[in-house]
Subunit: 254 residues, 2 copies
C-alpha cells in the first residue's frame, strides 16, 4: 500500500491562507465525535465561530448527542468548507482534528464567546441563554486540507491559531473598537467589501462588525460575511486602531 503522505503537497503560504480562511469564515460545519454509548463516530451539523485566538468554538445543547459525547471524550473532528454548484469534490474543504474543552458558563471565556457567536449568528439570540446551552472550544491539533482533486495538504494546529500577546487586550476592548468603527468610519464596510472583491454595495447601516481580533476584522451583512486580514499580526491596541484607520482611508468618501 502506498504511503499516504506521498500524496500530500508541500504546505505553502497559499495552502495556509486557504486553511485559515476555511476555519475562520465557515458559518457551520459537520462535527464528528465518539458516541459514548456505542463508541461509533457520530456526525452532526453545528454552527461555528472562532475565538480570539482563532480556535473554533461551538454552541451546543446538553440535550444533543454530540454534547454528551464531548463531555465524555474531547476527541473531535470538524469538516469545514461547503460545496457550491457542480462537482462537490472540486470545492475546498478541511478536516480539523481537535480536542474539545467545555467553557464554564460563569467565566470570562463564555462572555467573550457569547459576544463573538452572536455577532456571527444573530438568530442564536433566541436560545443562546437557555440553561442547557454551552460552548466548547475545539483546539486544533492538525488538519487535512483538500483544495480540490490532487491538492491535499497537512496543516499543523499551531498554524491555525492566532499567536499574539494582545489577544486578551483586544477582546477586552472589542466593544470600544466596534464603536470606533461605527462612529468614525461608517464607510469602512464598503472599503473592505471592495478590497475583498465583493461588488455588492449595501447601505452602511446594514453592515455590522462581526468580530475583531489580532489578525483582522470581520464584517457581515445578512448572509454575507467578509474577513479582512491586517497586513501583519497586531500586538497592541494602537496597532488595531491604526489598521482600522488605514483601510478606512483607502477610498475617499464624502
Amino acid at each position: 500500500m502506498k504511503d499516504q503522505t506521498s500524496t500530500l503537497r508541500q504546505t505553502d503560504d497559499d495552502a495556509l491562507e486557504l486553511a485559515r480562511k476555511l476555519q475562520h469564515t465557515s458559518p457551520y460545519a459537520a462535527l464528528a465525535v465518539i458516541d459514548p454509548q456505542t463508541q461509533f463516530p457520530f456526525a452532526s451539523r453545528i454552527l461555528l465561530c472562532t475565538d480570539m485566538d482563532g480556535c473554533p468554538a461551538v454552541l451546543v445543547s446538553a440535550l444533543a448527542t454530540h454534547t454528551a459525547a464531548l463531555r465524555e471524550d474531547g476527541r473531535a473532528s470538524l469538516l469545514v468548507g461547503e460545496p457550491g454548484k457542480g462537482d462537490p469534490l472540486a470545492y475546498a474543504r478541511m478536516t480539523i482534528q481537535c480536542r474539545a474543552k467545555a467553557v464554564d458558563r460563569d467565566g470570562i471565556d463564555h462572555k467573550r464567546l457569547r459576544k463573538r457567536f452572536l455577532a456571527r449568528h444573530p438568530k442564536a439570540a433566541l436560545y443562546i441563554d437557555f440553561t442547557d446551552f454551552c460552548f466548547f472550544r475545539l483546539m486544533p491539533e492538525w488538519a487535512s486540507l483538500n483544495g480540490g482533486f490532487g491538492r491535499a495538504y497537512r496543516i499543523e494546529g499551531r498554524d491555525l491559531l492566532i499567536h499574539s500577546p494582545a489577544n486578551a487586550l483586544i477582546a477586552d476592548h472589542a466593544d470600544e473598537i466596534e464603536r470606533y468603527v461605527y462612529e468614525k468610519f461608517p464607510h469602512i464596510f464598503d472599503n473592505i467589501a471592495a478590497a475583498s472583491g465583493v461588488s455588492r454595495k449595501t447601505a452602511n447601516s446594514a453592515w455590522r462588525v462581526a468580530g475583531v481580533d489580532c489578525e483582522g476584522l470581520d464584517i457581515a451583512e445578512g448572509e454575507l460575511f467578509i474577513r479582512y486580514n491586517w497586513e501583519a499580526l497586531v500586538t497592541s491596541l494602537d496597532a488595531t486602531y491604526s489598521n482600522i484607520a488605514k483601510i478606512a482611508s483607502v477610498t475617499t468618501k464624502t
Copy 2:
C-alpha cells in the same frame, strides 16, 4: 440531566418519508470514521449513491484516511442533508449510524454499484476504475433525523432499506428497464418532473435515468435529481414496467 429521548417526537410517516428522501437523494455527505492511528473521529466529504436495497454506498480511494479507517473499523456515521440560504439549523439533516463493508472489486456487487454510482455521478467516470478506488456499503443501524428546530426523530435502520424479494431481479434487468423508458416513454421525464413539482422543462434528450429500484425511479438532468416513488413496493419485473407505463400515461403528449 434530562433524558435525551424526551426530546424526540414520535416517528410518523412524514418523518420516515423525509428520512428516506434525505438518504436517497443526497449527492454527498460528511462521513465520520474512527482514525485507526489516533482513535479520533475523522470527518470528510464523500460522494454517495444508494444500492438496490437502499443501503448508502461510497466510492473511496485507498490513499484517503477514511478508507484505511473503514478497513480497520466499520463503525461509521453519515451526515446527509445540506442547508440552503438562511439559518443552517432550520434545514433538515440526518445522522445515519452505519456499519461499513468493503465491496469486492471483482464481484457482482461492485458491477451493480459502479453502474448506479456513475448514473448518479457521471464525472466519476474519470477515476472510478483506478485500482486504488473501491466501494463500501454503509449499512444503516439507526439514524437521528432532525427536521429543523424541535423536530428530532429516531429512525430504525430497517426503515431506511428497501425490502423487496425483487431487488436482485430489478438490478439484473436495470439496463433493459432503462432502454424501455428511453424508447417507449421519452416524455416520462417531463411527467415525473411535473408530478414532483419541478417547473423547469428540459429537452427530453438531456434527462437521464439515474437509477431504478423496487421503490421508485430516479431521473436526473445536470445537477437536478428527482426521485419518483412507486405507489407501492414493487415485487416483480412486470410491476416495475406497469408502474413506468402508469406515470408515463399521466399526461398525454404528442
